[in-house]
């Protein structure tokens, strides 16, 4: 943990940021080849929005879930195990990861070096009407992750701290978990719901086909 001592260990020390802004910062740090798996709901809507390319089109190696709540981390772990030379990011909401906390322990046990989990924590099930999650009532996901064996797990104090942590996840061995507290802002766009196309573009982006 000493390597992360300049980053908050506790949720209440983190600044509340905006999900689209954080996602945009992450996408801006990536080159072209990192895989990004977006969990359901607004997490992947803003991934979709932030991945629009200036000249039209959209970033290739992104996967957008359309259900299977909670499986962003397992899917990303599968990609990471299939392609150990590629950096893989899982973007997941607090409500979603609370459904699959065991996956944090599995990631820790596998010790995958090329995986980074980013948690977008607004403390609410925003897309279903803003009901409070356990995170909104005090559960600290970065703390749960550390207790699950993910030693490189911290909250992003602010946008610049997020960029620093994400930058380290791009260059240093993982697994990583970055907690982001976010506000209740609406997503900027809506993901196209065409699963066969999403999967095909993801696989092409990964060089599998």
């Amino acid at each position: 943990m000493s390597a992360l001592s300049n980053h908050p260990v506790s949720r209440d020390q983190a600044k509340v940021m905006n999900r689209f802004e954080v996602t945009r910062r992450l996408i801006g740090l990536l080159r072209h080849d990192e895989a990004v798996v977006g969990g359901i709901g607004y997490t992947n809507f803003d991934l979709w929005a932030a991945s629009a390319l200036p000249g039209g089109g959209r970033r290739g190696p992104n996967f957008y879930m359309l259900g299977s709540m909670g499986l962003a981390v397992p899917i990303a772990l599968g990609v990471a195990l299939a392609q150990p030379g590629r950096r893989v990011f899982a973007l997941e909401g607090d409500g979603s990861i609370l459904m699959q906390l065991g996956s944090l322990a599995t990631v820790a046990a596998r010790g995958v070096r090329n995986l980074c989990i980013v948690i977008m924590d607004n403390g609410a099930y925003q897309i279903t009407g803003g009901q409070e999650t356990a995170a909104g009532q005090g559960a600290d996901i970065a703390g749960i992750a550390r207790a699950s064996g993910l030693r490189q797990s911290a909250w992003a104090a602010d946008e610049d701290a997020f960029a620093e942590l994400a930058g380290r996840a791009l260059t240093e061995d993982g697994p990583w978990l970055i907690g982001c507290r976010i506000d209740g802002g609406k997503p900027v766009d809506t993901t196209e719901r065409d699963p066969a196309r999403i999967r095909d573009q993801f696989m092409r982006g990964l060089g599998v086909r």
């Binding site: 359309l66 299977s68 499986l71 397992p74 599968g78 990471a80 195990l81 065991g102 990964l206």
Partner: protein
């Protein structure tokens, strides 16, 4: 050869080298076999849904995998099959050690077992109940070819007739 040796060898032939599982007593010789073989990466997951997600992600990344579980674990999977494997056309390969029949002693197992085939049929997922040693290789070999060629999930149900099942011990 024993059933689990046949399974291990057919998986190898089809380069299915990632094995995620939630353990089961009947599956133990297969789990032991793949864990002892450096060809495979095999590990336990905390839930069957998680094991399915890992296999799905791995296939999209170009690596073939299988998830192993028992009947009650399969019963936790309908949402993941219906919203991930089927619509995204991901050939998730599943193997279920069948409990709940032919001498079951746990009423919960016997009840949940009755949901398995109706769920597979409702989602039109190809499934085969394996009962005979002399058919095991054919079923596995042909079904793996089909799953990957048609990008469709498949489920192998290991009957107690094949494996001996779990025997009631007082």
């Amino acid at each position: 050869m024993a059933w689990h040796e046949i399974v291990r060898d057919v998986l190898k032939r089809h380069t299915v080298n990632l094995v995620t599982y939630v353990p089961d007593n009947v599956l133990r010789p297969l789990i032991d076999g793949v864990e002892a073989d450096a060809f495979f990466t095999a590990f336990a997951c905390t839930r069957e849904e998680e094991a399915l997600g890992i296999v799905a992600g791995a296939w999209m990344g170009g690596r073939r995998g299988i998830l192993l579980m028992q009947t009650s674990g399969f019963a936790t999977l309908p949402n993941a099959i219906a919203s991930l494997a089927v619509p995204f056309q991901i050939p998730v390969v599943m193997m279920v050690s069948e409990r709940g029949t032919l001498g079951e002693f746990n009423i919960g197992q016997s009840l949940v077992a009755r949901t398995m085939r109706p769920v597979l049929d409702a989602l039109a997922v190809e499934h085969h109940t394996m009962t005979r040693l002399d058919e095991a290789e054919f079923i596995l070999d042909r079904s793996l070819v089909q799953a990957y060629a048609t990008m469709a999930p498949v489920c192998f149900i290991l009957s107690p007739l094949l494996t001996g099942g779990k025997v009631f011990a007082k």
